[in-house]
Each structure stands twice: as structure tokens, then as C-alpha cells.
Symmetry: C2
Subunit: 356 residues, 2 copies
């Protein structure tokens, strides 16, 4: 049975966008393929607020996370984790023999800016990894404050994971000074999973040139150099289906207007937060709540599994807590093409099931 | 304008299969997602003639090529190249600091079995990479002979690139003793690009356990372990769209019957070869001609670019030669759902354009 998804990716994808996934194939070494990717890159630059090059990768967001930390760490990486996806970045470093240290915040808290400043001031690091929006906890990190700190250390390449926030909230890449801002298709951008994108700054390019073993498929520098040389074509065959759908969906996003889109996301977030505070508690600290996902403490000790099963019968799906939080929290994503009316309908159903 | 593709991938994809790419999303941590992948793996096992586990990767075939050589070389890899894609495997080793040697055949020739035997007999290698079907040259390597040689060296993990042959010709993985047989969606299997698959033998699993730095996204062992632990779910979000389409297309392939499918490919290959020999010459040595693609020497000194432009106006697309062969050869792919009638229609048009 079809279920409307309120999980933190894959999100609900609109029918007209899904239909673009069924576009007939073209040669990936054709002029049309070059034009398709150039068009996508230009539109993504608007969403990223950047003049830098945009790279596409036929992978999940994890592929580009690994590509970023491996391609651009010459000395040592500082991974500032606020949850599961921050920890993943550190794992990737370890599995690639990239020197790195892990700085962990308590789950539900944002990054500790003083700790960030102290770490970078040691001069040990030439790259820092930060998760913008952590779906395991529902925290959205304060990028403006982080930017002020990172900018004090011009040697440091800043990688920002915006997998679950780009397209749902404003992230001004060039103004913030982010060197590699990466995201994925299946979250606030509103596409099926299978393609990821990142910006790639001059500083990142120069850094990568100093890293000897960057791998092949996920090497950001060779991706960059290839699309320069080959007029926006890729070293290996990309997912053209996702590219057709992305090109179309980005038009729709720009037609809605980026500011309107961010406001819609904030309205949904505010509505879910109010509901959550009335009936439960919020997991993340109030100052750093995510605009695309709300993580709710299960203070009523309901069975989250049963709630989701009952919602499933009614055609909705939410998420349980992440990992060990499985029954301790539940998560409602409010991202991509989801509307306030969709959210109200979902919460009315939860109210009805739980007799709230 | 829409063009029917006779290029060595992406291939023409049937409308009903394309429509499956537009299936609405499901959660990738749901029971449905587990069932979807289990179903795909079971069907791929039939096509691979294997009892081993099948891994899927949201990448092009290059992603799994890199994963194979990096995950399973503990000592040193011997890369036996017969063209551009064999060379690529060696590049991947170098970019990952994997110790490797490159053995190159002259373009148009198959692997030198004596050289393979000599190389492996040195005991220097614990992994060997072989391209089954090389689209840059039109050669299909003799896997039976290779198998007899590789089997003499039980320490050696055998990686076979069947990106452009699996589904178009019989490759009996277990009987041949291939440890990692990898393929991609956009060739003889008849799907859009964006997903790759490989078999993964017990020997490969045990080998990978001895390799310390296997990376993350392309690490075959962690993929394997994750799907065992998590009931056929993936560490990161896979391309569900491709999985829906693959599950459907594999049913269609099995309905056609694998032997029928191989015979259809052989019939098309024979027809193109006869035509090529009548009007041009074949690039590859006669004994090792590919069943899925024919590479034709431009003995008439035609402009391949002009021919393709004229074909384009009539709704067809073939390939020029690979790399430096650009105008020296042209390539006609006859794979996936292409029929003998499609091939006849194409060649009639070429005859007409070139006044043959």
C-alpha cells in the first residue's frame, strides 16, 4: 500500500518529477548531456549561492562525504560530530587512512564553538567537517557562528554536510566561506535517491592537488578536472535519469522562489514544534532546532512501532528514533514538497490514534 | 530529437522499464526495501549462474571496479588490459596506492594466456583483473581458457569486468571460478545507468578481511556484511528507482529465457560482422569478436562524424572509435533489447547514406 513519507529521506516525490525519471536515454558523451549538466550546475549555483563549480556524483550523499575528506585532507581532519552522520565522517577517514580526530557533542546539542576554535587554533588541522543538519538528533548547526570561527584559519578547508537541509533552508556557501558544501537528492530537494552534488572552492582544488592518493570514483579533483576538460561530461556514465529529473525539479524550486521555499519549511517546522511541545518534548536544544525535521522525545512512552503501523494503515509513514533512540524518540520530516496542510493531516491522524 | 541508441551504453531502454523508474518512493529501511533487494539478488544469481552473494552499488560500473581492486588486493594485483577499460583498472590501483602491474595486449587482441600464466606463476600476485568484453576494441576475452589458467593459482582472487557483456552472453561465474564478477545496468541488461552489481565469493570475503584500508562507500566487504546484518538493506540510501526498474527488467529477461537472449545477441553480432566484412574490416581478431558490440575499421575513410550526424537526422546513433581511434573505427552496439530487425534497419540506413 502506498504511504505518504514523512521520514528524513527518501521524501515524497511529486508525480511530474517522478515521470522525468522515465525520460528516454541519451548518450553521455553527447552535446545534450553536456547541456543537461551545465543547466543543472547553473541552477544549483543559485541554490548554493555560489560562484564555484558544482560537481555531481552518481552516489548517495555518503559518497561525496568520503570524497571530500579523502580528497582534501593533506595533514589532519577535525570532525565535529553532533550525531550519527558526523560520526560517519570520522569512520570514513579511518577507513581511508586519513588522519583525523573526532570531536563529539552530546546528542541533541549543537557544535561547541569554543571547542571548534580551540581545536583549529592548534594548527594541527587543515580540514574541518561539520554536519549542518543532523537527522539523527534534529539539530541544525549555527553556520553563521561556525563561519566566523573557521574564517580565522585560512589554511582550513571547510566541508559542510547539507544533505538534509539544502533546498529547505538558506545556506549561502560563498558568504559563509564553505569550501565543499555537499548535498543529496532525496531530502529537501525533493528527488529520488541516487545522485549527490557539491560545490568545490578554489581552496579545495589547490588542497586536493597536494593529496597523493585520492582514489578514483570519489576523487573530487579528477571529477572537477574532467568536467572542465570535457565540457561538463563525466569520467564514467552518470545517472542520466536523475539528471533529467533534477534539471526539471530545480526549475520548479526556482519558480516557487527560494525564500518562499525556506519560509514554507519554517512554517511547517514551527507547526510541528508547537504540536510536539504541547503533547511531548523536543529532543534537540530549542535554539538549534532543525527546519527540515523534528525529533520528538517519547515522553508518553507510546509504542513508536505501533504508532507507525497504525499510521501505515492510514497511508502515512514517520520515522522512529535513530539507532539506540529507536523507541525513545520519533521523527517527523517536513521537507521538500511537503506542505503545511500535509503536516496538519498527519498530526490530526496522530492525535486521533493516540487520543491526544 | 529522439535517437535510437546503438552505442555501447547507455542503451535503448524499453518504455515499460523506463516507467518503473517513476515508481513512488518507499523508505529504504522498510521491509519492502529488503524484499526488493532480495528479489533482485535472487534473479541476478540466475543470470550470473552463482550461489554467492550479490552486492548492489549506487554507482557506475567504475565504482565497483575500484571497490574490487581496492578491497581485495592484500599483496599485489595483476591487471591484464586489452583496452581502455583494462587500463582504467590499473589507474584505479595507482590512485588508491594499491600495488599493481599492468600487462597490456595490443588493441584488438585478446589476453595472452601464456603471459597470464607466467605472471601468476611468479607468486607475486594475489588478485587478477580481467575485462571480459572491451568496448574500446570490440574484443571478448576467452573466459574458459582464462579460467583454466587462473584455477591453477588458488591464492589469486579473480575480478572479471562484465559491464558490457553480462545479460548478453553466458558467463557462468561459479563454474569459471570468478570471485568478483561485476556489471552495470546500462549495457546488455537494458536499464538506465546508475546502478552496478557484483558477485562476491567466499575467497573474496576472506581476502578483504586482510586488507586494512578499503574505504567506505565502495568497500565490498562492508557492503556484504551490512546486507547480511540488516536483511538486504544498504549502509547508505540506494537508488530505489533503479532497483524498481531492475527487479522488473530481470523478470522480463528471465521470461525471454537466458539462452534465447544469448542467441539473439549472437544473431545480431553475426549479422553486423557479415555486413562489416563485406563493406569494411573488423578491428578485433576474428576469434575473439564481441557478441554485444562490433568495432569496425574505417577502411573506406568515411567521415564517422558526418555519418553519425546523418544517422542522427534519421533517428539513430552509433559510436565513433574510442579515444585516438575516433575516426579510425566506428562501433555498433547490439545489446539489451535491440533486435535483429533494429540492426537491419540501422544498417539499411547506413548503406543508404554511404551508397553501399
Amino acid at each position: 500500500m502506498y504511504k505518504k513519507l514523512f521520514i528524513p529521506g527518501p521524501v515524497e516525490v511529486k508525480k511530474d518529477v517522478l515521470e522525468k525519471m522515465a525520460t528516454p536515454m541519451i548518450g553521455h558523451r553527447s552535446k545534450e548531456a553536456s547541456e543537461l549538466q551545465r543547466s543543472i550546475s547553473n541552477k544549483l549555483r543559485k541554490m548554493f549561492y555560489t560562484k564555484e563549480e558544482i560537481l555531481l556524483s552518481t552516489t548517495s550523499g555518503s559518497g561525496l562525504m568520503e570524497g571530500a575528506i579523502r580528497s582534501c585532507t593533506a595533514k589532519r581532519a577535525a570532525v565535529f560530530s553532533i550525531g550519527a552522520f558526523g560520526d560517519r565522517w570520522y569512520d570514513m577517514a579511518k577507513h581511508n587512512n586519513v588522519q583525523a580526530d573526532l570531536y563529539k557533542a552530546e546528542w541533541g546539542k549543537a557544535i561547541n564553538i569554543n571547542e571548534l576554535d580551540r581545536a583549529l587554533s592548534t594548527g594541527r588541522y587543515d580540514l574541518v567537517c561539520v554536519t549542518h543538519n543532523e537527522t539523527s538528533t534534529g539539530v541544525m548547526n549555527p553556520v553563521d557562528e561556525i563561519s566566523q570561527t573557521v574564517k580565522k584559519y585560512p589554511e582550513v578547508v571547510w566541508c559542510l554536510d547539507t544533505v538534509s537541509s539544502m533546498g529547505g533552508t538558506k545556506i549561502e556557501v560563498d558568504k559563509l566561506g564553505v569550501d565543499i558544501c555537499l548535498t543529496s537528492s532525496q531530502k529537501a530537494i525533493g528527488l529520488p535517491p541516487g545522485i549527490a552534488a557539491c560545490s568545490f572552492s578554489e581552496k579545495a582544488i589547490e588542497r586536493a592537488k597536494k593529496v597523493p592518493f585520492r582514489g578514483y570514483y570519489l576523487d573530487l579533483l579528477s571529477l572537477y578536472e574532467y568536467i572542465q576538460k570535457k565540457d561538463y561530461q563525466y569520467p564514467s556514465t552518470p545517472s542520466l535519469s536523475h539528471m533529467f529529473a533534477m534539471d526539471y525539479q530545480l526549475d520548479k524550486i526556482l519558480e516557487e522562489g527560494l525564500e518562499n521555499r525556506y519560509n514554507r519549511h519554517l512554517d511547517m517546522a514551527n507547526y510541528v514544534r508547537e504540536w510536539a511541545k504541547k503533547h511531548f518534548e523536543l529532543f534537540a536544544e530549542e535554539k538549534y532546532l532543525s527546519n527540515t525535521l523534528t525529533n520528538i522525545k517519547n515522553t508518553r512512552n507510546i509504542s513508536v512501532a505501533d504508532l507507525n503501523k497504525e499510521l501505515g494503515k492510514r497511508g502515512f509513514q514517520i520515522s522512529n528514533g535513530y539507532g539506540s533512540l529507536k523507541e525513545k524518540t520519533f521523527r517527523i520530516a517536513h521537507m521538500a514538497e511537503c506542505t503545511l496542510d500535509d503536516i496538519k493531516e498527519l498530526l490530526d491522524n496522530i492525535n486521533d490514534i493516540l487520543n491526544l
